[in-house]
Symmetry: C2
Subunit: 208 residues, 2 copies
Amino acid sequence: MGRPLAETSLPDVRRSGRKPSTSREELERLALELFATRGFDETAVDDIAAAAGIGRRTFFRYYPSKNDVVWGDFDRELDRMRDWLNACPDALPFMDAIRGAVVAFNTYDPATLASHRYRMSLILTVPALQAHSTLRYAEWRAVIAEFAARRLGQRPGDFLPCVIGHAALGAAIAAYEQWLLDAHTPLGTLLDTAFRELTAGFSGHDQR
Amino acid sequence: MGRPLAETSLPDVRRSGRKPSTSREELERLALELFATRGFDETAVDDIAAAAGIGRRTFFRYYPSKNDVVWGDFDRELDRMRDWLNACPDALPFMDAIRGAVVAFNTYDPATLASHRYRMSLILTVPALQAHSTLRYAEWRAVIAEFAARRLGQRPGDFLPCVIGHAALGAAIAAYEQWLLDAHTPLGTLLDTAFRELTAGFSGHDQR
DNA sequence: CACGATAATGGCACCGGGTGCCGAATGGAA
DNA sequence: TTCCATTCGGCACCCGGTGCCATTATCGTG
């Protein structure tokens, strides 16, 4: 699974050899700029490569696909969330822990909030990215399921942890969709609400 | 959105013109057979077209993409589920109605069960299909959200109905994944269990 | 300074999915 | 037969993604 290129500008021992002509961060910046002006589908990989002054072939050594550019360093974020969950006291009910982790994991400082919102708007509205995102969501769910399994005394592949992973993902996506529709309510509030509904089993709303 | 070709062998008035040289059903049959022997990724659209004795170009007039072949007539199934929900008595709590609909909607007679299971195994394991499925799932969620919204006195785009749609989808997929892992437990039972957990808010399992 | 090991680059050919275009084939109706 | 509607399918093309391989840049060492 090892990416040959800078995982994220870590010290990353370099003994010798030609140095990279750009970086994942730089490519992400340029690509998002192009997406914003020209649109995602209308921007070809060649365009991004040209903007960065590299060859098309080289682009694919920084990102495995055009879709992945939008996700930045998702794996690192997942690691952070895993750590957050592991650091949760056992006294905290596990659904509360998950809710807290998701809220914390999706809290961005004002400086980066706008660009994050734009990235998510792409992911949740551009069909190609919507489709691709499924594969990333699977990793996210795995983190949740893993934690739930530990708390439930089960294995990560067992039924209940998987259901929880899927349901949690659904709640999170719904919150994001709402936030994109109207940023009036803070994302954190929406996530919190969605997870509380989940934990309450959607009870107490019926209009019959 | 009208498909020019047979929606599904409805009477479908035909005035004149050359008659289709094959059908969606026939293509689906042939394609699934190829997928089963050679694998999904290893089967090119040209292979399917050749097997059906039509041109590659013509294939894309029957199905908009290779991915869609696996989904058969999903839209019709969705209509059935929508009807099921609409026919639910108001006395039935809405989460029970949704659970009932999903179970009923995913009940297949033994003759078609095996092929359905195979189709779902493709959808849930082949990366290209996993990704593509997101777009189909959106339609499914919409049906659920629409019903929930009506029951909750809200609009289909409102937050709570969307959360419910996403959570329900998650539960359903988790049940399917479990069923594919081990068909020992009937799909209906798994779906029922997943939805009951959802409605109970995953309570009563914590091992702390 | 020169050399060799090392690593990134980028061109090229190729594959496969998907589309626009357009002429050819087919079959019913006047 | 003629006309019209409809399907067919070849062709050229776009784009994302990959394997291959020679080229180029950099660092450490002698």
